[in-house]
Amino acid sequence: MLCQECKQKPATVHMTKIINNHKTELHLCEDCARQRESFINIPTFSVNDLIASFMDMGQAKPAFEKLSPSKCAVCGMDFNQFKNIGRLGCQECYKYFGDELGPILRKIQGSTQHTGKVPKRSGSALLTKKQIQKLKAELKKAVEIEAYEKAAELRDKIRELEQSQGYSGREQQ
């Protein structure tokens, strides 16, 4: 009889195993029998388990003390739902679950600060947004000290920037 595993060498090791009341016989060569005993276990990785286990590591306490779980006002998902499926409902969930997600991200990722690629479109919109904020602050100051000429200049600049942004600069809810 040839080895059931490699089908190349004679079977010299005969094993009987009972699995779920089912008797199975195994006829292996010495090499395959040895390999079977020290079979490598590769841990399988489940994202849901990972998130659930991190959440049970003490960090969930403040959430339990809340009367109702945090809820995303945009897509309607609440934090318990997220815990169950391990997936967020929309980009705004990151804002509404911010308090709970922070510690989870620190544990899974070791960081909460993105340092990689920035999309040119949203990235430049971001820069423009920041510039507009700065100009608006300057405008307020100019009005306060009654420097109207300067204020008019700033107002035109702001208007120009706001128009240049087009739809991508529109405030997202």
Binding site: K7, I40, Q91, L105, S111, H114, P119
Partner: protein
Amino acid sequence: MSWINEKGPLRDVVISSRIRLARNLANYPFPPVMKPQHAAEIAENIRNSVIGRRSSQGLSFMFIRDVPIVERQILVEKHLASQDLMQNYEVSALIMDKDEKITIMINEEDHIRMQCILPGFQLNQSWDILNSVDDMLESQVEYAFHDELGYLTSCPTNVGTGMRSSVMMHLPALTLNQQMNAILQTISKIGLTARGIYGEGSEALGSIYQISNQITLGLSEEEIINNLTIACRQIIDKERMARKALWDANGIQFEDALWRAYGILLNARVLELKEFMALLSQVRLGVSLGLIPKLTLEDMDYLMTIGQPGGVTRKAGRMIDGNEIDIARANVIREVMEGILKTKDIS
């Protein structure tokens, strides 16, 4: 023609290198909660953004619901699409280039999952290509992006870069020497993860492993690739040394075992998947050492894809299962191997 038949650096150990990016469109719910109407809009939007542009010649778009079941399975077996994409078949779609290097999955776990896969060890090249695909798409659509958290994904394990870079490796000698456990433990300590690609649960059929980054936030894309590159280079060196040591220590016994595997692969009439992968692994080892000169590494990796259940079923031309698949597999492998050997005898 698929990338699988192209040569690639360090192919003796590395089968392929892949970069995948997760992206979502701004102002749409993520796939786990979106409505079918959202999904349809998103698919249409991305299709119009990609197809028909001068820079995207050779790309084709398909709704998964229009793809025959066997072809869906083959897409998964070739690592061109995921099982999740197939499960969402009612709303999901796929864009693919003719070399099967670039694919864009639409409405998977995220709105967009794009990948570039290249033969051998080419993580940087793969990133360069995918980065420009991402730029092209980004010029057409607005991504969900957060100043601090980066690209927003439906699962927080992908947030930040949204990048999963992975290397598919053939590690028969390290597996035989029972060194894999130690290696897997070591790499998990530096934010990497490894798993067997074929087979279920704890099996790593054919001694084929996928090593990838686990952390996506707080590191730049280049840093992620660099970490993975350093770890993989060490594993490649170890595997090469182990192969040589095995041959040196066992001489003709070692050669005999690999040639026997070759003989069975070329002559078997029934081939179970598990046995097929084990034989393939042995023959590939022989090819990598120049011991079995009639076949190339590209031939071996091609045989690996057509010997998977979907590939065998397609060749058979009808739905088959169980013992029928094992018989069909033996036939397909024998036919293709004989074909390869014949063309080499002529040349």
